[in-house]
Structures are given as structure tokens and as C-alpha cells.
């Protein structure tokens, strides 16, 4: 366990019920200061609810949460004082200029004129909004809107910033630039809590958690998750099979002995193979079914593999419990 002062977020057995429905079910995790914490899960699985609980918008039905050392139950207001938040739709006032948006959020956080001007300069330097200061934010492209929104969220120099799907609907270049910016800020000691759908973004996080219908089913660094025994059962390994007619190949691969599971990834198949079946044997097996393999190679599981595997297991467990 790390020293409590190094803890940005400590969530202990969080529960949130809406009537009969349990949206967040006994969720615990810790985020260390300086981490980029990726919070993943399908739509409606409780990601936003957790954010709302951590920012004091939703009372907890059970459990405890501390954010930057402050108890959310006791002093939600101080929590909000110490965090930045950027929502998925960049929550800007489109009929106000870039400068007016920044000024508004600066005043909301109670920045004096002097400090506001200084921070505004720093942020403009950081995100390059300089030429657009007097432009209405409605006229900015998606990527610039997002930079402005991030700027608004960090005017008051929060040490922890929540980003709720920061890259939904923006172009790949802007996506890449945002992540570069996050790494730069992270190096200055700012902690990020990021929700996302993109697996490549998850791979970039230093710490990842996966929530599935209210239950946290994965929590750790991307590398440690890849090594989980559930993901890489004893006596198996993962391969990538590239073949033409990939859908037919998949259908056949699933029937072969020694292949535990197989899914399509783009133009290739990711498969979980028994250890006693080596690559050449596999190639032969497929050839017998008249599938000519172009390439076949061992593969470390991707985070997507990890989440798919864990989700299946979780569903199987849930069904077993019901039965």
C-alpha cells in the first residue's frame, strides 16, 4: 500500500442504487497521484455514475470515497474546488468567444483578475489557442473545442482532472495531440481520470480499470492485466492468424481441436491455442481444411482481448449464480 498522501482517488466499496436498480455495485479502486487512469466499460455500465459520485454530484448509497484526500461524503464542495472536469460534449458556450469561455470558468473558480490573466496566458501557451481568442467557440473545429474545454477545466490548476470520453467524435490527429498533451501534463504531476471507448487509448494509460454493468472486473496496469491467469490460462498461448477469406477461416478454426477460442480482428484471427499445438501443426490443420494461412505468429493479448475474456467469464459466472 502506498502512502495515503500519494493517493489521488480512493474508492472503497462504492454502491449507487436508483430505486431497485444497482448502477454501481461494490466498486473499489485506487488512483495514485500522477497516474493516467483509464476507466473503461460499455455504455450504461456505470462510468458516468462513478464520476458523478466522485465529484459529489450523486450521494453514495454505500461505501466511501476520498478525492485528493478529501472525503466526498463530508465536503463535496472542497472536492470540486480541487478537481477539473471535462464532459464528453465539451460543455462550452458556443455563443461566447474563446476568451469569454475561459474568463467565465476562471471567475466560477474564484480566480482574481491578476491570476486569471496569468493562467490564461499559460493555458494559451500550452494549447495554442492564441490566434482564436476572440473567435466564437461555435466556430472552432472539434479538436480546438476540446482543447478549449480542457483549458477551461484546468484554469484553477487542479491536480486531478476528470475527462469523460474526451476524444469522442474528434479526428485522429486531434486525438493524438490530446494524448500528447495529457502525457506532458501528467509529467508535471497532474493526475487524469479518463473514460474512453478506444482500446488504443486504454493501452496508453498507466492504470486501467474495466467496469461491466456496475461491477469492476479488471483493475491494474495494462501489462499486469495481460498476464492475468483468466486471460492467459495455464497451458495456452495466443496467436494471430492472417488468412484470406477470414470469415470462413474463423468458422473452421472454431471447430478445430486445440483452439480454445477465436475472434476476428480486422483481416486476421486472434486465437487462444493449447500449448501442445505448435504453430506448424496449426498451419497443417488449417491447410487440411483448405485454408492457406498467409502468416501465423504468437501474440501478446491486447487489452481488448483481456476485456473480452473477462466479460465472458463474468457473464458465465453471473449465469451460473442465477442457475
Amino acid at each position: 500500500m502506498n502512502d495515503a498522501s500519494q493517493l489521488a482517488i480512493g474508492a472503497q466499496n462504492l454502491v449507487r442504487r436508483f430505486g431497485q436498480f444497482t448502477a454501481v455495485n461494490d466498486v473499489s479502486f485506487r488512483v495514485q497521484k500522477g497516474e493516467i487512469f483509464g476507466f473503461l466499460g460499455p455504455n450504461g455500465s456505470g462510468k458516468t455514475t462513478v464520476i458523478k459520485m466522485l465529484t459529489g454530484l450523486l450521494p453514495l448509497s454505500g461505501g466511501d470515497a476520498s478525492v485528493m484526500g478529501i472525503d466526498v461524503r463530508k465536503d463535496a464542495e472542497s472536492v470540486r474546488e480541487n478537481i477539473g472536469y471535462m464532459s464528453q460534449n465539451f460543455s462550452l458556450y458556443s455563443d461566447l468567444t474563446v476568451k469569454e469561455n475561459l474568463t467565465f470558468y476562471g471567475r466560477i473558480y474564484g480566480l482574481g483578475e491578476e491570476r486569471l490573466r496569468k493562467r490564461m496566458d499559460e493555458i494559451v501557451q500550452l494549447n495554442g489557442l492564441g490566434p482564436y481568442l476572440n473567435r466564437l467557440s461555435a466556430q472552432l473545429s472539434g479538436g480546438w473545442k476540446q482543447r478549449l474545454a480542457l483549458g477551461c477545466a484546468m484554469l484553477h490548476e487542479p491536480k486531478l482532472i476528470f475527462l469523460d470520453e474526451p476524444t469522442a467524435g474528434i479526428d485522429p490527429v486531434a486525438r493524438r495531440q490530446l494524448w500528447d498533451l495529457l502525457f506532458e501534463l501528467s509529467a508535471h504531476g497532474i493526475t487524469f481520470f479518463v473514460t474512453t471507448h478506444y482500446m488504443d487509448e486504454a493501452e496508453r494509460c498507466s492504470h486501467v480499470a474495466y467496469i461491466y454493468f456496475g461491477k469492476l472486473i479488471a483493475d491494474g496496469t495494462p501489462d499486469s492485466l495481460r498476464e492475468l491467469p483468466e486471460v492467459r490460462p495455464e497451458g495456452t498461448y495466443r496467436v494471430e492468424i492472417t488468412a484470406p477469406e477470414v470469415t470462413r477461416a474463423l468458422r473452421i478454426a472454431r471447430t478445430l481441436p486445440g483452439i480454445r477460442s477465436a475472434t476476428i480482428f480486422g483481416q486476421s484471427i486472434h486465437a487462444l491455442i493449447d500449448d501442445d499445438l505448435d504453430l506448424e501443426q496449426l498451419r497443417e490443420l488449417l491447410l487440411k481444411q483448405s485454408i492457406v494461412v498467409a502468416e501465423i505468429r504468437p501474440l501478446a493479448p491486447s487489452l481488448e482481448d483481456v476485456f473480452v475474456e473477462l466479460t465472458y467469464r463474468h457473464q458465465a459466472q453471473a449465469e451460473a449464480q442465477r442457475a
Binding site: 454530484l57 464542495e77 472536469y85 460543455s91 462550452l92 458556450y93 461566447l96 467565465f104 466560477i108
Partner: protein, 374 residues
Amino acid sequence: MLNPFRGFNAVFYKEALHVRRDFATLFFSLIIPLLQMFLLGFAIDTNIRQINTVVYNADGRRESRELLDRLRNSDTFHVVRFVEKDHDLTDAIVSGKCRVGIKIPVDYSDKLLHGMSAQVLVLIDGSDSSVAGQAINVTTSIGLDESLRRVLANSDAPFPVDMRPKILFNPDSRSPNFFLPGLTAVLLLNVTTFLTAFSIVREKERGTLEQLFVTPVRPMGLLLGKLLPYLMIGFFELCMILTFMRFVFSVPIHGSVLLLAFLSLPYIFVSLSLGMLISSKANSQAEAMQLAFLTILPSIFFSGYIFPRETMPKFFFILSYFVPATYFIDITRGIILRGATLTHLWVDALALFTIGSLLLVVAARRFHNKVIMA
């Protein structure tokens, strides 16, 4: 840190920027009331004059022509055609060309001269009740008057009863005097309710409201900051309407303008609260628009603004007590037309304050539960 109005300045300033940027909305919210004023002030006259009338004078002699002249001189009837057949008489009414048909029978003069009772048929188109009512009143009173004159013609005795109606406060029965004070109440409600509801729903649509809740802004600071600009607009609008009413439509203000301004405050709070209630329910501006109409219709139809409350069926009469505009219309008409003071209007004022504060509490609670905690 514990300032419950934290964020008020920032929100107020930002809201003022919105109003300034969205000049079109502001313009229309101020211009449309003016248009309505001009419509009601100039175009609509509830006094019924010059009803199109068709006459079938089967008699044609002097007595019958005298009767027709008296009807014409009343200013109520405008004889547009003469017919020679019963059928044409009804036809003129059925076709909508005339609203009143008068048939003087062939023996009218004879009967009068022989001291018998002469009958005159008056056909009235009942499809417009106020026209029909006016036509009945005027024809019967002319008939009565004519009879009395004939009965008393040979004696020097004066009329036994002499009714002398005197209309206080609006002696010429001018329509603007009646309509515009009520219009003030209706417009004030419309504009502030719309603007408030829209300003909140717009932030809901954009997601900025959600963003604000994650900042240290206090709910009170946020709401007041958002509402105050519209309260000011509402107040400005009131002054504008009163100015136009006084100087363009020459409706005299008999009472204290200050009292009127003071009593308009709880009323503006009512409309702000209604706007908030709407915004806690509606998720889009279109939805807000429909809900706003829902609140505005009762204040037009059940408040006594157009139709007198006293003639309403019991149910609606009771309903009208729950319509805030009812009280404010009482207040505006009272102060403007009758020069009433607080001693006359305190019941209305109390009712308005009560409804205003109740609504504000309900709206704030609902807003808290449905919007902040959603």
C-alpha cells in the same frame, strides 16, 4: 467558502453576454408584446356598432319608417338592404351577409292607430353571442321606449322611472382601457417564463449545466445569476408596456405606478418559477416551448383577461383562483383604471406573494431533484 451565492457574479455576467449575443431573441421578446399591444389597442373593439341589418318593411307607412329611423339612429344597426319577401329575409341571415333581420308586418301602422298591440319580428343570428346580446338589448329597449311614448303621449306626466347609468373609470367604454392593463399581465408572464425556461433548457441541451454542477458554484448563485437578468428584462418590459399604454394609447393611469411596480415583483417571480418548473421537466427547447404554452393558455382564458370570470361555469371560476394572472390583472386594472391603493388590493397582493413563494420553493426543490441530482 460558505458563501451560498458563490458564482453569482460570473453566472450573471455570462448570462448578460448571452442576452447581448442573442439579440434576435431579445428583440422578438420585446417586439412581439408591442405588436400584440397594437393589435389589441387599435384593431379590436369590443363595443358592438353598426350590425349589418336586413329589413322587410311590409307596411311602408310613416309609423314604420319612424321605427326604422330610431333603430338606425341607435348606432347599433346598419341597414344594408331592403327585401320584399320573408324568404329573402332569412336568406340574408343564413348567407351571413346580415346578422339581424327586421320584419314590420303589413298591419303595423293600422294596429298602432287603432290602439292595438303591433308586433315586429326581429331575427337574430346567434352565432356570435355578444352581437346577439347587443341586438336583443337595443331592439327591446327601443320597443319599450316606443310603447311608453305612445302610452304617455296624451298625458303630461313624466316618465315614472328614469334610469341614469354613469360609467365610472372608462366613460367612453374604450377597448384599450379594458384590454391593455390585462395585456400587461399576460405579456409579462409570457416573456419571462419563456426566456427563463429557454435559458436553462439551452444549458441542459449543451451539457454546460452538468459542467457547472462540477464546479464550486452554489445552486443559489447559479439560479439567481441566471434568473436575475430575466427579471430585469421582465421589469424593463413592464415599464415599456406601461409607457406605450399611457402615451400611445392614452390610457390614463389613475393609481400609483410605484405600487404597480412593487406588486409586479411577486408576479415576475411567479413567471420565473414557472420557467424553472418547465426547465426541470423539458429536455429540449421545443419541449419547453410546448410546456410554456400550456402555462400561458390558462392565464389568457381563465384570468378574466378576455372573458369575465363571473360568467364562467363554477368549475372554471374556481380554477381561475389558481391562475396567478387573475390576481395581477385585478391589480393592474385596479391601479390603472380605478386608482385603487394597497388597502383595496391587499388580498390580491397577498395571494400573489403566497403563490409566488410557493411556486419558487416547489420549483427550486424540483430543480434540485430533477436537474442537479439527475
